[in-house]
């Protein structure tokens, strides 16, 4: 296996032929190596969520090809080669926490004891083992998002696709969740494609930051972060960290769009 994700000359047009035609993505090429953490960043309408959905095979491309684990994206989806997390944790409130994590295993037909055991392992991984029998609405936003990550990892996928998963959390919870995510990825060796509006978040988490521009959506810069694999609280105060943040900010500034920054309302969606 060579790459976790390979995207070749990918284009997506919404409402083709109509007056509402939108060229969401034009000729995107991107490769994500095994174990690599790649962030997609850009202003609203740059198609970063669309790109993530194409990789997940939630929508079909207009042109071009997506390979996940060297398979067509549709095959990879059916094989559960990736797990997914969204901005809304999207837990089912009629299920207990552990039952939420069991859901993908249940859909695959695992038997009761095996999936309970696996779900408990996942909850321990996100440090929520004691909350297995709680209801989702009894948990804080950050805890709910950790359950969503446990659910995404339940089938042991080698790839995690995340669409602004921490966008709705407060700054402190957010930083904590970012550290947790890095720890989990290091423990499991998972590759990640991560959509975000936040420059510090992208830099802190990623091996590479992919900067995208809108109308039509395309990749304009790729920033190699090179902060090493061990990142902690000190990383956030490191000069190299600020240098990379500036580099990404400069790349975004070149886009001639004034609505750029980490304080953009995260609820704005560019689908």
């Amino acid at each position: 296996m060579s790459q976790a994700v390979e995207v070749h000359e990918l284009s997506k047009v919404f409402n083709p032929g109509s007056t509402k035609q939108v060229d969401a993505l034009v000729e995107i090429d991107l490769a994500v190596s095994l174990g690599e953490f790649v962030s997609l960043i850009g202003p609203s309408g740059c198609g970063k969520s669309t790109l993530l959905r194409l990789i997940a095979n939630l929508i079909e491309p207009s042109h071009g090809e997506v390979l996940v684990n060297d398979k067509p994206a549709s095959k990879a989806r059916l094989d559960q080669d990736y797990g997914m997390a969204f901005q809304q944790a999207g837990l089912f409130d009629w299920r207990s926490v552990v039952k939420n994590v069991e859901l993908p295993l249940e859909l695959k037909g695992w038997d009761r004891t095996r999936r309970r055991q696996r779900a408990m392992e996942m909850l321990q991984l996100v440090k929520l083992g004691d909350f297995a029998e709680h209801r989702p609405w009894q948990l804080s936003g950050g805890m709910q998002q950790r359950v969503a990550i446990a659910r995404a990892l339940a089938t042991s996928p080698q790839l995690l696709l995340m669409d602004e998963p921490f966008g709705a959390l407060d700054e402190m919870t957010r930083e904590h969740m970012q550290a947790e995510l890095l720890r989990i990825c290091a423990e499991t060796g998972t590759s990640v494609v991560f959509v975000t509006h936040s420059i510090p978040e992208a830099v802190y988490l990623s091996d590479r930051v992919v900067v995208m521009s809108p109308r039509p959506g395309r990749i304009t810069h790729v920033v190699d972060v090179e902060l090493g694999t061990r990142r902690d609280l000190d990383t956030r105060e490191d000069a190299a960290f600020f240098k990379k943040i500036t580099e990404v900010r400069e790349a975004l500034r070149g886009l001639d769009v004034d609505l750029v920054g980490d304080d953009l309302p995260a609820s704005v969606e560019d689908r």
Partner: protein, 287 residues
Amino acid sequence: MIRRAALFIGSLLVVAAVWELYKTLGPEDGGAVLGWNILPRTKDTAMPHVWDMVSRLFDPESRVKDSPIWRVVLAGVWFSLRVAFVGFAIGTSIGVGLAALMARFDVARRGLLPYLVLSQTVPMIALAPLVASWGGKLQLAGWEWPKWLSVAVLGAFLAFFPVAVGTLRGLESAPATSLELMRSFAASGRQTMWKLRFPAAMSFMVPALRLAAAASVIGVVVAEISTGLRGGIGRLIIEYARQASGDPPKVYTAVFGAALLGLMMAAVVGAFEFLVMRHRAPAGDAA
């Protein structure tokens, strides 16, 4: 629980007080407001005292039958309750089935929905004799279509509609991200239906079932009258109403029975609600 019971009894007392107050103050032979003859008459034949209605419950049913009237009324309630419950069950099954069909196939939705709306404009009084006569002709391998089943079907006819509409809305209430999540898990259409759409629909189905329970009671009471089925509360209402000039409080004992019937059906839905919603987030605190 005690608070709710006290509230319930309190509200009954308020209704009784308002009744008696109007009876004392209102005009004996009715009255007109701005030329419209809308004020009800307050004579004992039209508006018996509340205590007369209650005490009538304990008097013999008629000169030929000396069991107290509450027994006769309760027997009628029990009979109608069973018929109404069967109607409610049939209506709910059909309603949920139609909703699932419409949620799954857009063609079914566009084709069926107008007819469902249309069906509710047909007056039940017109339909009742038809259903009864079709039922009378049905015979399957020695099994004869009982008359009460026609009445239950008419109850179902009123009950299925709110269930179909409410369930359809509920099935479509599943958020887009949850649907994407199920797709990312490679869930089949059937799995998405059972594991996401139906559980998400429950909070819409409970009020729909409440409407359906009330509708099935109305359907059964009216259908008993128009098909002439004996033994139920509808029949008692019409029978006692005919005797209203000589025995005005009597018909109200049957009306109490009909109210009791409605409460019991509501309790059935309440039990269902408790079962499916007990672990859900309290209102306004969705996860």
